[in-house]
Amino acid sequence: MSAFVALVRKDVRLYLSNRRALLMSLVAPVLIGAFMGAVLGGAPAKPAAVPFAVVDLDRSDISQRIIAAMSEDGAFSVQQLPQAQAIDLVRKGKVSVAAIIPQGFGAKASQALFRRDTAKPQIDLHFDPSQAMTLAMIKGLLTQHIMQVVSAASFGGDAQAIAYLRDNVARNASLDAGLRADLLNMYKSVEQVQRQRHSNGTADVATPPGLAMPYVTHDFEVTNGARNYNPYAHSFASMTVQFILLMGVELGVGLLLMRRMGLWQRLRAAPLSRATVLGSRIAAGTIVALLLIGGIFAAAILLFGVRIEGSVLGFVGVAATFAALTSSLGLLIAAVGRTPEATRGMAIVLTLLLVMLGGAWVPTFVFPEWLQSATRYVPTRWAIDGFDAVTWRAQGLDAVLWPMAAMLGLSAVLSAVAVYLFRWEE
């Protein structure tokens, strides 16, 4: 058994014999991965209703029908409140958005529906800045319900709106005479239909006239695999990357601690090259990291149905290159660190930053555009994207060759720099 193998074996054995640390290294990522997979991953079967407050200053038939339609929509949990109370609830974070429907909204909205030159009524939306993402969703749903209600009112029963439009056309001298006559005929026909529906009692409350969504959608999850998207695959990849990086930090700090001990003197007194001593540390760290990745994904497979639907070889490759990268990073930390205490704090901050930029906590698409571009050069993103590719995206080996090469190359560079910078003599 060569000295190199003996040192590697010693480090791996010591890590595995520390059952408490081992348990934490395995249990913590599994628990957090499970939590994040359950909470953040994928579309839930039944979305939670968005708390939404409405202030009706109009009190018209149209505004009440809009509120009624939104109340029936499962996406909202609507409360009709006075204005001050509604805004106060937003301020306290109890509701995401409060919409103020202004006085005269119903009449003005019906008129604005047909005339671009008419002043549009304004709905003020007071929103919780910490839940800004819900604002866009509420705007979309508001648009749908208002369009349906206002158009139904215009075409289905609000004679005043049609009369207003007809009078405007009749007074418009600049309009072509032929076009004016056509428009007046159209309004007349609409009014006639409205009158007939009401006089015959055939007005259908369930399907009032007006605009309706002219399409329906059906959603398809797009993966290469035979299974649907498993959100745990991504959350476990993220947490694996995070905790393996933290293990790398401990590896570096452990080396700094060892330098304070007689053990380091004994190693230095042995006929061992610097490459043997430091290289064995990298090799041991890589093996331990690989074992941990295997353990964490085994839990993901057994307990949460995660599958390596793509290249198994690619999965092993991503795991191995990321493990090597982590060990090299740990050695670099030991090389540039002065004291274990200071180094640990600094390295953990760096690790968490890398993890965040890699998209482990929140998806990178929510980042600003410049930051999204920057994350392409962050190794944690290579690792997470690599794991995603060979698990739920069901990609082949070719899809992860580039991230594997990048991680391996970076690992070699970090190792070389670490060995060069490492303070060999105290």
């Binding site: 060569s2 003996a6 010693k10 053990l263 007194a269 042995a270 006929p271 061992l272």
Partner: protein
Amino acid sequence: MLVARGLCKAHGNLVAVRDVSLSVSAGEIVGLLGPNGAGKSTTVAMLCGIATPDAGVVTVDAVLLAGGAHAAKSLVGLVPQELALIEDLSALDNIMLFGSLYGLRGGLLRSRAREALDLVGLGDRARSRPATFSGGMKRRLNIACALVHDPKVLVLDEPTVGIDPHSRNHIFENLETLRSRGKALLYTTHYMEEAERLCDRIVILDHGQVVADDTKEALRARLPTSAARRYEISGAIDPALLADLHARGIRSKLIDDASLEQVFLHLTGRELRDAK
């Protein structure tokens, strides 16, 4: 066996060791003494190949010692002052690990490890972990780890710190056995009685330089007689006549020779060094 010539080492602007030369022959125990900050640790580091001298050379059995993976390092065994043991490995596994760093393997490694354990009296605790050992047992295991590759030179850096007299005596017996087997031992200590008992020769370092290198007897001879010896005088003596006692032929009995500690303090002064 171990020869150092003109060793110099500076840490930044601080000169830790200046032109230190010393030697240890086979079958000899040489004590390396010095106050705190005298340069003992730096000297030991250079003698073991841990630190590279700025100037000077170290040879072991006529082979030049260098750092890194140099083969001459296999001729030296180091017993660090701090316990250099892995608490989670058994005593035998500890020794085998360090043996494997010197290229030992297989049956030879195992038999050497057993021999080293037997020598320090831990043969029956081979499978026990150091965490279960007393301080003295750990110190003995610390020594065994340095012996497994059968070095010609053993450098011991205060190997008896914090242990009881029985364990210390056991270690002394081990070291005397090694001396009788022809090993060259360099022994650094702060305990003068240890150097007194074990060492054939004493090297005293101060301010990074060798201030004395001689046998115990020769070192004692350096002290002024009045400062070195105590006499028990019998009979009624007039104090005024004390200076002429010998000349007058009054019978006297030497009850205690000068201690090595007195020699040490005489050579290095009484100033505390820790405060510097």
